[in-house]
Symmetry: D2
């Protein structure tokens, strides 16, 4: 994903519309949480099994694809506003997770996943 | 951002720990919304102005960087599980937004941003 | 539930600590959403069946009870700040729901619950 | 607020529509978080000051009143499903908060509210 190019076009999109005064990191973090909940809404009454076969429901699938894009857009915007490199932040967190959840422990404690997992 | 490479390592991370049974799209969408709220938590009592100067608070800044990574990780995982191309989804949504919020209308209605914006 | 008495004690709690400047409706609505996500976090990796038997997990049960209280507290505070009568708002919404989801339609369309339900 | 009476009517509402199979605590906690985000959505682009004067915007005010009711309804339902007394849970949490945030400390550390507050 070309993070720089998308962030640049988001920056221009906001500037052209005079929206920067609304785009404080606080407000964008709020919008991001709202979009994440709208994404979740599509799954709320489905069983886990139905969610694995979401592609069988074209209307929901399309809605989910759009909400995933909305979350990604606000995440790119927030990282840009705070000058946080997205890929480096992800790599650092993956290294942390690997140290925090060693394979042996994780496999041996699957029943305690709720407390163990990220 | 190398989406394929990160998704591959996330897939392997889950497989090695026998976590795929927990990773239904429904559960991952839930975890994503929870992480988005944890990200938001760092901003909840800040003013918008303080949020624009988050870099002055190193501890909060570091926490925000980690939460941004967590949201990105679950988003990559969810897109992978549903076989949704993340960058294409974003591009399609940006095209939709450009049509939905024409510059002229958006600038002329800044006061109604709450109803107008994405 | 004695709504007035609890709202009064919440009001005094905030005043004594000089917290009213943080308690804009926007901030309280944010804190409420964050608490609702923390409540949800306790369920995120449980199956639906396990969630029905939450009482068998005393530690999670206690955490859920506390988070439910946090959500209720912020909801009471928000309603107070906006001068919205909580019970009347609930009664009005229940009347709306009864009109929106007539028994015959709801039973006949159980498969479409995801689109039909509140 | 007559908690028992509302919970009874919610229980009957679900039974009449054959919705109990959807109403696992996990799903209700999800619906609650989604509604809390919808409530928050009404505030996301407002300034804190505008949110304090929400009554001046009748349309948003009505929407907020409805979303507050939705959150309350799911909270009552969840407490009922888990057999948690809502008022006792609130009272216990208020006692905890009073011990956790003594007036002297809270007033003396207003600048650190973000880390101090509930």
């Amino acid at each position: 994903m070309n993070v720089d190019a998308i962030q640049k076009s988001l920056r221009e999109f906001a500037e052209e519309r005079d929206w920067n005064r609304f785009h404080s990191p606080k407000n964008i973090a709020t919008a991001l949480a709202v979009e994440a909940a709208e994404l979740l809404e599509n799954f709320q009454w489905l069983t886990e099994e139905e969610s694995r076969r979401l592609a069988e429901r074209p209307e929901e699938f399309r809605a989910v694809r759009e909400e995933i894009a909305d979350v990604q857009i606000y995440l790119l915007r927030l990282a840009d506003l705070l000058d946080i490199g997205l890929e480096a932040a992800v790599r650092d967190k993956l290294a942390l997770n690997a140290a925090k959840y060693p394979v042996a422990l994780a496999k041996g404690n699957a029943l305690k996943y709720n407390r163990l997992c990220p």
